[in-house]
């Protein structure tokens, strides 16, 4: 799992102890909550992934030929970004919980929201283009 650890943005900033030895044993409920948050992100990634495959394989083609692929690739790239950073995010939070420190800030919720909004706007545009061409 070394490659996952290397994805952690600030990994090289200073030498660190492994996350499970720093600080003190936390309240188990905090660890479980952190784990559920991680699992919720994993399920978000799985849902985006299924959406990405489905939009290419199941949705009838738009009049713009590459439209489905654009939507599918955007969804799946978002899913991969979430999945590939999820372990590092979980570990940073576990470390913060053990140290009693504030939770590290994360840009992922806003990035995910913007990504999904962008996909939706694109889908709307493609549908409208189809409708306009159908009438014209």
């Amino acid at each position: 799992m070394d490659w996952l650890r290397r994805l952690r943005p600030r990994a090289g900033a200073r030498p660190r102890q492994p996350a499970h030895t720093v600080g003190e044993e936390p309240d188990y409920r905090f660890s479980l909550a952190n784990e559920r948050t991680f699992l919720a992100w994993i399920r978000t990634a799985l849902a985006l992934l299924a959406g990405g495959v489905a939009v290419v394989q199941l949705v009838p083609t738009f009049s713009i030929g590459w439209a489905r692929h654009l939507l599918g690739i955007a969804l799946i790239v978002l899913a991969i970004a979430i999945a590939a950073t999820s372990y590092a995010r979980w570990q940073r939070r576990e470390r913060a919980i053990r140290l009693g420190a504030p939770l590290p800030p994360t840009r992922l919720p806003s990035l995910t929201a913007f990504g999904i909004a962008a996909v939706m706007v694109l889908a709307l545009v493609f549908v409208l283009v189809d409708a306009a061409r159908g009438r014209g």
Partner: protein, 116 residues
């Protein structure tokens, strides 16, 4: 919880805390397993429609889904044991494996939509 003579120990029914965190975590693992099963089924559906190569990732994903769902129960018991001994129930291996599986699944899906 205490009778270990013969067969697996019974499912712990004692409530550790009023927020039933262990139960919610178990259910979260089960839902994640179901999510994997859905992706596996999607791959298998494509495999039956002529892309036979997809049967391999489809079956592997279903296997991962079964393992994750089974893990939910194991995790529940491990949480009980850890809490009784005053240890943290954090499980790095399971988290890292799940994250890696999901990332690998994402790459597979990307290949699927680019190639097929």
């Amino acid at each position: 919880m205490t009778s270990r003579a013969g067969g697996p120990p019974p499912h712990p029914t004692e409530q550790l805390d009023p927020g039933v965190q262990s139960e919610r975590t178990q259910l979260a693992w089960q839902r994640t397993g179901l999510g994997f099963a859905a992706i596996g089924a999607l791959f298998l559906r494509l495999a039956f429609r002529g892309h036979l190569a997809l049967a391999v990732p489809g079956l592997l994903t279903l296997l991962a889904a079964a393992l994750l769902t089974a893990r939910a129960e194991h995790r529940y018991r491990a949480t009980f044991a850890a809490v009784r001994q005053g240890h943290s129930p954090a499980d790095h291996c399971a988290v890292a494996t799940t994250a890696a599986l999901t990332a690998a699944l994402g790459l597979t899906a990307l290949i699927v939509i680019l190639v097929l």
